[in-house]
Every structure is written in C-alpha cells, then in structure tokens.
Symmetry: C2
C-alpha cells in the first residue's frame, strides 16, 4: 500500500476499527487451512458505505481486499495470499429482523450461525444448513462458501435458503439482489452469483434467509456392516424406499478403529458404521421412516443395529460421529480434511478408492461423511514439518480429487475451493465453464482487487 493509504483507510472506518499491528497481522495471516500469508492492514467496517469507500480506494491504488468471517474455512479462502487489506466483518453482526409469518430472517454477515439458531429457537424455527463450525462461523462466511452440514440430504445447503442479499460490488456500488419473498422469477438470479463466490465477486453486507420449522420428533439408530458393499447397498436401498433421512452418516473401518482405540468405544471389527436420524412433526412419522430403514439394514447384513429409546441414548449414538474428527486428529500432528462428493450410489466405490490411494502413501487416515448426499470427509494425518510426509499427503489428495472427478463427482460439497483446491478446479469443470467463471470475475472485478488468487481465477 502507498504511503498515506493506511491513514486514509483508518479515516473511513475510524482509528478504533483499523489495525496494522504485528500481532493482528499474524492472526489474520491464516484460517483453518494449512495456508498462510500476512496482510498489510485490517479493518472492522461497520457499514456497507464504509466498505464501498474502501473498495473505491482499492481500485484506485490498487490493493487487494479480503473479506473475512470467523476464519473457520478449510480451504484458505480467507488467507490474504497477495497481501492487502483484511475486511473483517465481525462488527456488522446484527440480526436485523425475524419475521416468522414471512418465514424469513434478515441478518448481517457477521452474525454467528449459532446466535441465529438461539434467536430462532423460541419460535420453533431453525436455519437448517448446520455447518460443523456452527458455534463460531459467521452467516456471511456460510453464504460466501455455500456451507452445508450433516442434514444436507433432507434440508439442502446454504444456497437453498438465501432469498436475497445486499452486496457491495468490487467497484464500490451497493445493490440488492433477490426478493423478500419465498420465490421470484424476476430477472437474472443475481443472488446466486454471489452465493459460494468466496468473497471474490462482492462483499455481502445483508442476507435474507428462508427459515424452516424445526421438526418436533426424531428417531436415531446405528448399524454396523461387515462390508462396504453392504453399507453402500443400504444407502441406495433407503433412497429407493422413498425415505430421505435427516441424517445418514457413514464411518469407515479406520474411523471405527480410532473410536475403539482412542475413545475406548466398544465396536467390533467391522467395515462400516451408519448413523441415521429421521424426523417429522409426529413420533409416528419419525418411527415409520426408521422402521423402513432398519428393515433395509437387516436385508443388507447389518449387525449391531441399535435404535435409541431416549434422548440420552440418541446422544450416545451421536457421540461416535461427533468424536470421529478429534479422535482421528490424535493420529498425527497435522491433518487435512477434504469434502469430495459423488452421486450417492458411488459412495462405497469412493470409500474404496480413497482407502486404496491413501494406503499407498502410508499415512494414517479415516473417512467419514454424509452418505445421504454423497459427501465424504477423508481426513489424512501427517507432519507438516516433514517435507516428505507433506508431499505424500499432497499426492494422496490430488489422486482423491482425480478419482472423485472420474466418478462424476465434485471436488467440494461444502467447504469451497479457496487456495487449497484452486489448482484442481479444471479437473472438474470443462474449459468453457472455466472461461465463463473467469468472465464473471472480470465482469465484476476487472482490477482483481477482491480476494485475488482464489479459485485460480
């Protein structure tokens, strides 16, 4: 940044909302990924107008501007890889309106996911995407990465709930997209140009979210499988039976082993575990679905089928899934967690392919994920200070991406592309689609000031 630029920026947001101290620059150099790079300064803007002014300055100089939520992203999307200014949106964090009769909430980007959950709970409503980092991540980040979670199979992802946005465009103009309504067919869908764009096309300053009534009845069960094929056939047979469970999680044999050895859980030596939840307004509805699912499990050689008879028992079944990530992490100093996604019928094939790939490189790994929407989380443990192990990890991840794309899948079901997957984007998308994405970026941000270096665009 030129001399005087920092002062000018501080003048826009106020001195208390500006920093270039070393400790802050170090803090803003990373997110939850392996990537890091220091910015030159950071601000906590408090209005769309301030952001607009900063973006105008950024185009003039130019300098990079990197919008940031809670920094929980796993792909480096919030890392200022070209330096520049961090735009920390945590002080634009009001829940502006909850309108149950209109089935929507209006929020600012810095609102933490679980704060919206708490605000909606008294009404019996919720915002379903439920990312694993929900206790800390922000709704702006959810929209920017099109975040998803454990209930995606039945409830979809963030994209399905964004009705409209206020966005500051890279040139500083402020606009509103979408509508205050449940549906609209009015003009081009500008809203979804910004959903999942990882802060590269605009800065989201207001979000209108569709909300859902929270189901009042749930059933939870778990089953073990002697083979991946049996588990996979169960997943397919559940869909064929017409049941869409609210949760349908799969854990591979390595995850089960880790839970047994690290968490002392009493599991036999099986190839896969499935955790399933059904829901509805009535106990009868949740039970009807669960009975069908358990029938499917039995037909597909499941053992150890356990259905929770109480909330406490359900919590106990959930514990295995909830502990999986942290217990696996004990197997290495560092770990990388991917979110490759395939058509559901390919889940067992992908589990096998990933296992084969990572085993070759002799690194500890586990695989679990959302079988109900085809989204698997292979987690590979390694030591970042060991260049050899790091290289092995990178090779394994690249092969996983190639296998996923070969199987008609997508690199990322819910984490986004960021820096981590940018080199692989062209594995998934054809040259015309890649060119179209570059054209969208160029149309909105010709000077490439907004979050440059991401998505290889």
């Amino acid at each position: 940044m030129k001399t005087g630029t920092k002062e000018a920026i501080a003048g826009v947001v106020g001195k208390n909302n500006f920093t270039d101290s070393l400790i802050d620059m170090v803090s803003y150099s990373y997110d939850a990924s392996d990537h890091n790079h220091r910015p030159e300064a950071a601000v906590w803007p408090t209005s769309a107008e301030q952001i607009s002014k900063i973006l105008v300055m950024a185009n003039e100089e130019p300098f990079p501007v990197i919008p940031r939520g809670a920094g929980t992203g796993l792909t480096g999307a919030a890392v200022p890889v070209k330096g520049g200014l961090i735009l920390d949106l945590c002080r634009i964090n009001k829940i502006l309106d909850i309108r149950i009769g209109d089935r929507l909430a209006v929020v600012q980007p810095g609102v933490v996911y679980s704060d919206l959950e708490k605000a909606l709970a008294p009404y019996g409503f919720f915002f379903p995407p439920d990312p694993a980092s929900g206790k800390v991540c922000t709704l702006g980040g959810n929209v920017a990465t099109n975040a998803g979670g454990i209930r995606g199979a039945k409830y979809g992802v963030t994209r399905d709930y964004v009705l409209g946005l206020e966005v500051v465009l890279p040139d500083g103009r402020i606009t509103r997209t979408g509508a205050n309504c449940m549906k609209t067919s009015s003009g081009y869908d500008l809203t979804r140009i910004f959903v999942g764009s990882e802060g590269t096309l605009g800065v989201i300053t207001e979000i209108i979210l569709k909300i859902d009534p929270r189901p009042t009845a749930t059933r939870t069960a778990r089953a073990l499988f002697p083979s991946l094929k049996d588990a996979g056939q169960s997943v397919t047979a559940i869909t064929h039976s017409g049941i869409i469970p609210s949760v349908l999680e799969i854990l591979d044999c390595n995850t089960i082993k880790v839970l047994r050895e690290q968490a002392g859980m009493d599991f036999p030596d099986v190839e896969a575990m499935i955790l399933v939840e059904t829901d509805g307004y009535t106990e009868g509805e949740a039970s009807f679905q669960m009975e069908k699912i358990i029938e499917v499990f039995r037909e597909n050689n499941a053992t150890g089928i356990q259905e929770a008879e109480s909330a406490a028992e359900a919590e106990e079944l959930w514990r295995a899934r909830r502990s999986a990530g942290s217990m696996a992490a004990k197997l290495g100093i560092n770990n990388v967690s991917e979110d490759v996604t395939v058509p559901m019928s390919r889940v067992p094939d992908l589990l096998e392919r990933i296992s084969g790939i990572v085993a070759k490189y002799d690194l500890p790994f586990v695989i679990f994920g959302h079988a109900g929407d085809g989204n698997l989380h292979p987690r590979i443990m390694y030591d970042r200070s060991d260049p050899e192990q790091t290289l092995q990890m990178e090779k394994a991840v690249e092969e996983i991406f190639m296998a996923t794309c070969e199987m008609g899948g997508t690199l990322t079901g819910e984490h986004g592309i960021g820096l981590a997957k940018a080199p692989y984007l062209k594995l998934e998308h054809d040259a015309v689609a890649m060119d179209l994405m570059r054209s969208v970026k160029k149309m909105l941000d010709p000077n490439n000031i907004l979050n440059p270096g991401k998505m290889s665009l």
Copy 2:
C-alpha cells in the same frame, strides 16, 4: 435473414427439421400471452451440435434466435419480437436417465413435465414444481422461466431442483454446469445464471434434476372467511404454528362469486376461501398438521370448515380451485393473469390493494393464488379489440405492479418477465442490479442474438 441463410440453416438440421411456411410462421408468432410477432423461419434441432452451428451463423449475420418449449408462457418470452429464427426444442425430448439411488433424473429440454411425472411414478418419486400447464409444458421451459406451482410453499420452485445443465452459449460453445451430485461448492454457480434467464443467455440442451419421494399420505380441507383479515391472519398463524402445508390456496370473494354463479357451486357470500393440503409418509403426520391448521381456522372466525374424508371428497374440494381460472375467463373475451408475489403476511393487504385498483377501472376480475408462498394470481377480463378496455387493463396491471413493489414484493413469482413485464423490471430492481443484469447479458451474448427484446435488457 440474408439470401442463402435459410438454406444454410436447413443444411444444418436437415430439410425435415426446417420450416418457413406461412402456417408455421403464424403458429410460432405467439405464446400464451397477448404478444405476437412472426419469425422468419423455424427449426427443430435434434442435437446440441446443430444448435451450436446455428448460433455461430446467427452471430456472423447476425439474426435473432429464439429458443421455444411448448409456448405455454404467459409473458411473451417465446415470442420472436425482433423476427429471426425459432429454435423449437420439442424434438430434443428424451428422458436420458432416472437414477433413483442418486435421487436424480437426466432429461432433455423438450420432455413434457407430465411425461417425467409418469416415468417417475412407478418409483414413488416426483419432480415437485408442478406448474399449472404441466400436461403440456416442457422441462426446458420450466428451467428457463424458473417455473413454480401450487406446492411451492413446501416444495419450492424449479430453481431448487436443478443440479446441473448442458448449455449451448450464444457464441456456440457447449458447456456443462453444476454437478451430478446433491450439492457442490465448486466454483461460481453457473447453473443458476441460466435458470430463469428465459432463453436470453444460452440454450439448455440437458438438465440434471433432483427428485423427491412422493408423499404417501395427504389431508385436504377448506374453510370460508367473513373477512380478508381473518383469512390473512390464518395464513400467518399457520406459519407461526410451524406447519408448512403442501398446498395453501386463497380465493377472493370475486372468485367465490364466479364459482357460485358460473359453476353452480353452493358457496355462501363470504370474503375469502382457503384450500389447504398437508402431507407426509403417514396418515398420522398429515392429520396432525391438518388438526393444527383447523384449530387456527376456528380461532380466526372461519365458517364452513370441511375436511375431506376420502379421495373423492378431496377431489370435490379441489374442484373449486381448479375451476376458478376457466370459470372466471367466461366473464370476458380476453384475460390477463399475473403472478405478483409478496411476503406472506402481506397477502391480505395485496388482495385489498388489487381489488381497489381493478375496481377503479370497472373491469371484471378475480384473485386467487398461493397464499402459502405469497404468490397471487389476479386475473382481469377485458376485450382486446376494444382499445379503451385494453388501456384500462394495462393501467390496472401497472398499478398492481407498483403496489406489489411498494409492499416489498416481486413482479413475478413463477411466470417470468418476458415482454409483458419488461417495462416494469426497474420498479423492482435498483439501478445497479439492472446494470448488473445487462452486464451478464453482454458478457454472454455481446451481439444480442439470443431472444432479444426480453427483460428490457
């Protein structure tokens, strides 16, 4: 078109797939709207490659190319207002794949909505958007207009079900967007740039659709209300109760009067009727929701509450809603049907505003629509051969659009913009959003060859 162009086009698609006969040109001059203009020729392409070649020729000459489905659109979006070539997609009409285990169907754009319904029925699955023209309209048209229908409140619209597309871009390049998966966060959302773009940004040649299991239990009921306020409070109270009915239709006093006088139905003189359907896997689930709704009706002064005890009784209750449009049409030689949409809590206000507006112009009208997602269909009857009546109708429609936008609504919930609403687009969208839409059009179609004159872009 220049001399030789028609021959060249016929050379691409084959003589049997080309026409410029007068009778065909007249047929292709209109859709289900009031607009019409003759094209110079029409083709029935049979592949994306043929479309690609035609679009390259169109850019060279240039001449307009207008993609067309079944022509059921109500906005003139398929009318070749600048002449040129009609691209009738009805011969690209195969259901390519139904993959229940992956919860998706792959279809070509010319597949008729109800043909997909029939193909999915044996599996117990359906494609929910359910436009009123489902028996004849095409899935390509559904995607191009982001079509919706009577079950939008619970099941959403076409946009919510499009996982991926094959698109021929205006410059002739063929690309694939989205994924074969339930979710993806990989790159910009190119898919939804094309959903609802009304054939102005690309020609859709393949569609990957998410599908849903069809509910196995439903309950249907009807209630009458002494005032719009009571009906409106019921709609709001139902949402507050956490119930999202699969159908929540409202009919105004004029509609009720038409049904009484034209269809001989035995309704008292009330201000509003609500038709409601709940669903689930189990009878208990559907009944639980219906009981809550009927409780709400009682608390809000409903009379004549009738709950169907059999499929035949449900069909009888549905008859009122189904007959509304055709019975109302008897009140005039021509009619215009709009689809303005507001936040649900504003439905009674919008009903009142529309009634006040149209009454001023002394034209017969009815209003019914999807109260569950705020989408109303005012239908105004007039005589198109009478310039005075036509002007009155147009004034009334313009005032309805203004009132809707004032109330935070959208011009169109499910029909699209086309020609009919193009002049009003700027009532809803700010200048920056309008400019952004124009930029998207220019980015993809710099020579403005694809469906020119639509959306005022």
